[in-house]
Subunit: 137 residues, 2 copies
DNA sequence: CTGCATCCCGTAGCCACTACAGGATCAAGC
DNA sequence: GCTTGATCCTGTAGTGGCTACGGGATGCAG
């Protein structure tokens, strides 16, 4: 499938952006991607703007932004509407969520590694991991 | 509801272990909790062993273990079956997952905080957050 | 004009819950 | 014994962000 000048099939779009083909259709279904033109037979025909939009979404997802955040960011990224303050609010709210999760995971890592270390250390009678899970925390 | 000597309602079990009541039923449905005895009217009647088991599960969930891991841990924690090596394998596999996620989140935190900092800094022409999302990474 | 890759749509599954709806049961007060 | 209100019951559907099917249509090279 070649799809004329500046026209991409969904497969080409997916390959170019390294986004799963079914994910692209999912984004369209939830209204994150605008419905593209269609061929006579009903196949989707994408244009470069779609590629850029998918790339934007992919980058935002890679940074952990949720779909609703991305929806808002896409609106704010529209030409003539670049409100940096609102963008920064979304980003810094997300950043503090990331920091919360980070703190949580750091705590888990400390507890788990300490307990597993006890296991691989000197031959103890009972299992340190099970002991910890049994005991009140 | 008082539920005789050593008998708990699901509500009491949930309150005692700080696990959501509906989550307790969910654990029973997926076979993580054994079905308790019932009153004449069909209400669940729990015993102290159930409280200990829910507490174990809660501790393991708080450490981020998945349900299937917990299922295995509960089997290994059964009396006469304490195989510390298998427990340690599960725990250290989980620990390395935690470390992977930690590395990922740390990366996100660095990128996001750097970008948001650029935002609150000197008055720049465009939005650093949107610029990053638009640019190839 | 045949064959095969790619595409279409719709639905169901993943994880670990959580939130209902619509009804039954329990225990206490009168 | 009866009412009241808290608690309990079952079953189903929703969350987020995809992913994986099944059963068919289309596109294009040979």
């Amino acid at each position: 499938m070649v799809m004329g000048p500046r026209g991409f099939t969904i497969g080409q779009l997916a390959a170019a952006t390294e986004v799963n083909l079914e994910t692209v259709r999912y984004y369209e279904r939830i209204g994150l991607m605008p419905p593209p033109a269609r061929t006579e037979g009903g196949h989707r025909a994408y244009e470069p703007a779609h590629v850029r939009r998918i790339a934007f979404i992919r980058h935002a997802r890679a940074l952990g932004f949720g779909i609703e955040d991305i929806r808002a960011l896409l609106t704010l990224a529209a030409p003539g509407h670049r409100s940096c303050a609102e963008v920064r609010d979304i980003a810094s709210a997300h950043l503090s969520e990331v920091r919360t999760k980070l703190a949580h995971l750091t705590r888990l890592e400390r507890i788990l590694s300490a307990t597993v270390d006890q296991c691989s250390g000197a031959p103890t009678p009972a299992c340190p991991v099970l002991d910890m899970l049994d005991a009140p925390m």
